[in-house]
């Protein structure tokens, strides 16, 4: 009996507490930079696509809404021939970002991406690619990886020694 009255009183007191609702369209809430919203593909500090089409985001994706195809350019870099995210299936879980070994795929605090036509929720690489490095300003995968690309021969990646000359006698 007392507990019932007590709960009535406690609930009644809330008439005089502050409301926590943020009235969204008039008042924009603060979203942290690591909020998990719309997915973008970033570029490395040199302006090249970061994505190397390794497919790890696609396999990590729980609703399987990422699809891409690897191609290799004349400069030796791997790139996605196409990179497609079906946002009508995306659950913004961020596992793709976790899986990405090159910081290419990143989630942004933008979530205002409603469409009347579901087909418009399918984003291609051209729609996803932004002109910047996103949250990670310095990292460039190919500066660390041992694979040769134009402008970086064998032995020029971070922490690499000059290539061995197998035919030399000074091994």
């Amino acid at each position: 009996m007392i507990s019932i009255l007590r709960s009535l009183w406690l609930v009644f007191r809330h008439l005089f507490t502050r409301r926590v609702t943020v009235e969204y369209p008039e008042e924009m809430p603060y979203l942290a930079p690591r909020y998990r919203g719309r997915i973008v593909l970033t570029r490395d500090p040199d302006g090249d696509e970061r994505c190397v089409a390794c497919n790890l985001c696609a396999v990590a994706c729980p609703p399987d809404c990422i699809s891409l195809q690897k191609m290799e350019d004349a400069d030796g870099r791997w790139r996605p021939e196409f990179f497609r995210i079906n946002f009508s299936r995306c659950i913004m879980c961020g596992l793709c970002e976790d899986a990405c070994p090159t910081y290419a795929i990143q989630l942004t605090p933008d979530f205002e991406m409603c469409e009347y036509d579901r087909q418009n929720m399918v984003y291609e690489k051209e729609d996803l690619l932004i002109n910047g490095p996103g949250k990670y300003h310095e990292y460039s995968f190919y500066r660390h990886a041992g694979k040769t690309v134009s402008g970086k021969a064998k032995g020029e990646a971070a922490g690499e020694a000059k290539p061995v000359n197998v035919k030399s006698l000074n091994l």
Binding site: C54, A58, V59, D64, C65, E81, I85, N86, Q119, V166
Partner: protein
């Protein structure tokens, strides 16, 4: 395993306080893997044995139950010992293994995301298994420059962990010479002396043998997807008659590209291919993606204006599948009412079911094999020889164990490469046997190889030098007639009680060598004789058979074999195409293209005639002039075909047929084993299996008004049964009922609705990605997966995922084992047959004793004087002689141009020079070839490249000197 898998003694061992029964005589690593223990390793390979190079498989061995410390041993180098106590999980062993992998990884180049091996990398698996997650090494990474190794293999040397598996496979197992370990200490480099194509025909296996991404598949990289994105199903290689099992991988392209087939990998089959495939089988898959591929039905335009500008080739335009079926149905309806004659031409590279559907459509009397007279006669002869109870076709393990091999005339390195690889292992069987006498187990690879100078007797009789010459103890280069003489003398020597046996007159074979050969053959307990259709000589096949019978008689008399199976002689006869022997079961020797041509020339029927050609190129079998006459003599040519060829250029209607990985069917290999291949992917465009086109058209023709009114009862019944077939397994059953030889087809595989515990088998791995995005560009709502009417398999992730649960599951994966090394999880022990039912049933051919008949001999030599004419010897190339593989881009890029090989003296006689274009003419046909010179070819013989796209057929067996002239520049 290299060792014979007979009944073995068992040993009881203790691993981590649990007791196990394991086969004695094996090494501890193999035993641990048989027990499905996760023990990391690199340098060991079930087919290559142990060398103890990588130190990764260390375990602790305890002296006795009281021993607490134990000693570290390399499990791959330790034979299991009854009563021994081991520990895999002991901290010392774990720390040691973690240290080894950390060392191996110090120079690894941080490029997994851009490595084709990523996701199916043994090194990744082992790193995880050993628990190395954090890089502590601060020094610089050693680097190497890569080499160009040709269009098949990509080289990325920095990924190497120096396990030596590549050179052990390439040099020791496959007999290659141009890949070796260079450099020293921690700078060892695996490569060639200089950039260039790896010239061994098994180089593709480096992709699978290398535990990491040093050697990767270049063709796969061009349309690369990760292993987990490939849908797969068991298939059979269509590029030769050995019948290797393959696991093609396919994935739909997200941009609507019809090219879905991505790669072919080995599917372990103990009796055929084991762990290895040849390069034609591995890289030939690209024909299914070639620019010449037919995706839609096409009809020839009838406007004469356009036709005249295109010559005899017709101009085609696409039409809808319904219209195409309707057109074919009209033809069939006319045939039904007796107003048209339809002649069906079957295919030796298409399945039994497709051929049977065609035969059902046209009737047995109008069904012809898509082979010339000579080829079909050879196949029928092979069939008759194999029916003899005195011989049997050996499987690969039996060939590898043979203590003597006689290769008669067949260039198996180019026509049946996997058999050549097996023969190469047979060359070591004597060494292994000697090691066994010294109590050295066969898996002690390095120790066994110390026994140099002991080789298995191996006679290679060939028309030209072959890739087996380096291991042959006796090499003979001769014309087929001389090989026949050699085989007969050998047979005589075996059967004759005593008396002088004279060596046949063959250049390079002296009496001493011959006597040794006879002696070796008499001593041999498990000799294997290999021959085939390659030289297109019936005499040679018969001689090989006679020799085999003599061997069988000798075995019975001298070794007193108790097992009747053991008493039979092993005779391997190589056939040309994947289903040659299957097609031979469906037709008589007279149902060949030359016979058809003669009939068409002589008789003139009042009705119009249709040539219904299924997956065969007439111009490949017949000289162009004959094929032209055959085509011109009919009113309509309808072709079911995979890729455009010269026959399809003349066809009035072309229907797109499914390539082997796109439909389910049965192929019979050279050994008489019927094997089923399954659809790996759905096929693009309007592709469907040939029999489905025929069944659709038969059903449509029944609906055409008036079709039922006339025509005979039998035709009507045939067409009705064809129209009723919905599943390929129904055709298999019908085949089994119609042909007693093919009765095993009824039991070949699961019926289309036969699920396992209510589940189908999934073609896609459980990690398949992009399901809701890959098609989203065109339609955001997901498509329903296509149903499979032929097999209990799903074109999706739904169903059984593990190869141990379903024989139809070809995805080689197990938890913790993402690379192809996972195969041991599906074997009772490494190297043994896969768990579950292995595909393939031998044909039920009735045993009939073979009598060689001289009537079925080769074409007689036209002139008595050998100096006047030349013997044409067909020569084969792994890259170039395969009809379909020639359409594969990478293979086409390394194929030579058609050539003719002359003895230097002959070349001089004809006043020609090597490197010059020459022309051979024969009754209206002209072959332009590149003249080559070789001192190993017999005199008065011309070796002519056979099966090359530009000139597939070759001249008859003999030509006159006048027929050879300089060609156009």
């Amino acid at each position: 395993m290299l060792k014979a898998g007979n009944a073995q003694a068992m040993a009881t061992i203790t691993i981590d306080n649990r007791q196990y029964e394991v086969d004695d005589g094996q090494n501890l690593l193999s035993a641990c893997l048989s027990l499905k223990k996760n023990l990391p390793y690199f340098c060991w390979h079930p087919a290559l044995g142990s060398v103890g190079a990588c130190r990764q498989c260390a375990v602790v061995l305890f002296k006795d139950a009281d021993d607490q410390r134990g000693t570290l041993v390399m499990s791959c180098m330790t034979p299991v010992k009854d009563g021994a106590i081991y520990s895999i999980d002991a901290p010392t062993a774990q720390d040691f293994r973690a240290g080894i992998i950390e060392n191996l990884m110090t120079n690894h180049p941080h490029d997994c995301p851009v490595c084709e091996e990523g996701g199916e990398c043994h090194l990744q698996d082992m790193t995880l298994m050993s628990g190395h997650t954090q890089r502590r090494f601060q020094g610089r990474k050693r680097t190497h420059n890569n080499q160009y190794l040709g269009p098949f293999i990509n080289h990325e040397m920095n990924r190497c962990i120096t396990c030596y598996r590549c050179v052990r496979f390439y040099r020791d197992h496959a007999g290659g010479t141009d890949l070796q370990a260079l450099g020293r200490n921690h700078q060892v480099y695996f490569g060639r002396q200089e950039d260039g194509l790896l010239d061994n025909g098994f180089s593709g296996n480096l992709v699978e043998v290398c535990p990491t991404g040093v050697f990767t598949d270049k063709t796969y990289s061009r349309h690369y997807v990760r292993k987990w994105d490939l849908q797969t199903a068991p298939s059979v290689c269509e590029h030769c008659a050995v019948g290797c099992n393959t696991a093609p991988g396919a994935r739909r392209d997200g941009k609507g590209d019809p090219r879905q087939l991505r790669r072919v990998t080995n599917l372990f089959h103990r009796q055929i291919n084991g762990y290895f495939l040849c390069d034609r089988g591995r890289f030939g898959y690209e024909y299914a993606n070639s620019a010449a591929r037919i995706y839609t039905p096409q009809a020839a335009l009838t406007q004469p204006l356009i036709q005249t500008t295109a010559g005899s080739a017709k101009v085609h335009q696409s039409l809808s599948p319904a219209d195409a079926v309707a057109r074919l149905a009209v033809t069939i309806a006319q045939m039904r009412s007796g107003n048209r004659r339809v002649i069906g031409i079957g295919s030796s590279r298409s399945s039994l079911e497709n051929n049977f559907a065609l035969q059902t459509l046209v009737g047995r009397e109008h069904f012809y094999a898509g082979l010339d007279e000579r080829s079909l006669a050879l196949l029928k002869l092979v069939d008759r020889i194999q029916r003899d109870p005195r011989v049997h076709s050996p499987g690969t393990p039996e060939i590898e164990r043979a203590d003597m091999v006689i290769v008669l005339g067949e260039d198996i390195a180019d026509t049946a490469p996997r058999i050549a690889l097996a023969v190469r292992q047979a060359a070591r069987s004597a060494q292994i046997a000697r090691a066994g006498e010294l109590k050295i187990p066969a898996w002690q690879d390095d120790s066994v190889r110390q026994l140099t100078g002991i080789r298995t007797p191996l006679l290679v009789a060939s028309a030209e030098r072959t890739d087996l010459d380096d291991i042959a103890s006796c090499r003979v280069r001769a014309a087929p007639e001389q090989m026949v003489a050699l085989a007969d003398v050998l047979a005589q020597a075996l059967t004759a009680e005593s008396g002088e046996i004279h060596a046949p007159d063959i250049a390079g074979l002296d009496t001493g060598e011959f006597t040794a050969l006879v002696e070796q053959l008499k001593q041999a307990r498990h000799p294997v004789i290999v021959s085939g259709c390659g030289l297109q000589s019936q005499e040679l096949l018969q001689a090989a058979a006679r020799l085999a019978f003599a061997v069988a008689g000798h075995k019975e008399a001298n070794h007193r074999q108790t097992d009747s199976r053991e008493a039979r002689a092993a005779l391997y006869l190589a056939c040309p195409e994947a289903n040659s022997l299957g097609l031979a079961q469906l037709c008589d020797a007279r149902q060949n293209l030359n016979q058809l041509h003669r009939e068409r020339q002589s008789e003139h029927t009042p009705q119009p005639t249709t040539l219904l050609v299924m997956e065969a190129d007439l111009y490949r079998q017949l000289p162009a002039s004959v094929a032209d006459q055959l085509c011109a003599g009919v009113d309509e040519i309808i072709q079911l075909e995979i890729v455009h060829n010269r026959t399809s250029a003349r066809a009035d209607l072309i229907l797109p047929a499914a390539a082997t990985p796109e439909y389910e069917g049965t192929l019979v290999n050279s050994g008489g084993l019927a094997q089923r291949h399954y659809a790996v992917y759905e096929g693009s465009g309007w592709i469907q299996a040939s029999w489905r086109w025929l069944a659709d058209a038969a059903a449509a023709s029944g609906e055409l008004a008036g079709a039922e009114l006339s025509g005979d009862e039998e035709t009507h019944a045939r067409l009705q049964s064809l129209a009723r077939w919905r599943h390929v397994t129904q055709l298999s059953v019908a085949l089994a009922e119609s042909y007693p030889e093919l009765a095993p087809l009824a039991e070949l595989g699961p019926d289309w609705d036969q699920t396992i515990e209510g589940q189908k088998t999934a073609r896609q791995p459980h990690r398949y990605s992009g399901r809701t995005a890959i098609q989203a560009e065109r339609q955001v709502a997901e498509y329903k997966p296509l149903p499979d009417d032929d097999a209990p398999m799903a074109f999706s992730m739904e169903g059984i995922q593990f190869a141990c649960q379903s024989p139809l599951q070809a995805n080689n994966w197990a938890p913790g084992w993402n690379s192809n090394q996972a195969i041991h999880c599906y074997q009772p022990k490494p190297g043994a047959a896969r768990l579950g039912h292995s595909s393939g049933q031998p044909l039920a051919r009735k045993a009939v004793v073979f009598h060689s008949d001289s009537a079925a001999g080769d074409a007689a030599r036209p002139t008595a004087d050998p100096s006047d004419g030349f013997r044409i010897l067909p020569l084969y190339r792994m890259f170039g002689s395969g009809e379909l593989s020639n359409y594969a881009g990478a293979i086409a890029s390394v194929t030579e141009e058609p050539f003719a090989v002359f003895h230097p003296q002959d070349l001089e006689l004809l006043s020609l020079t090597a490197g010059q274009q020459i022309a051979i003419t024969e009754s209206g046909d002209r072959w332009q070839l590149l003249a080559k010179v070789s001192d190993t070819i017999p005199r008065h013989c011309i070796g002519v490249s056979t099966g090359f796209t530009q000139m597939a057929s070759i001249p008859g067996a003999y030509i006159e000197r006048e027929q050879i002239a300089p060609g156009d520049a």
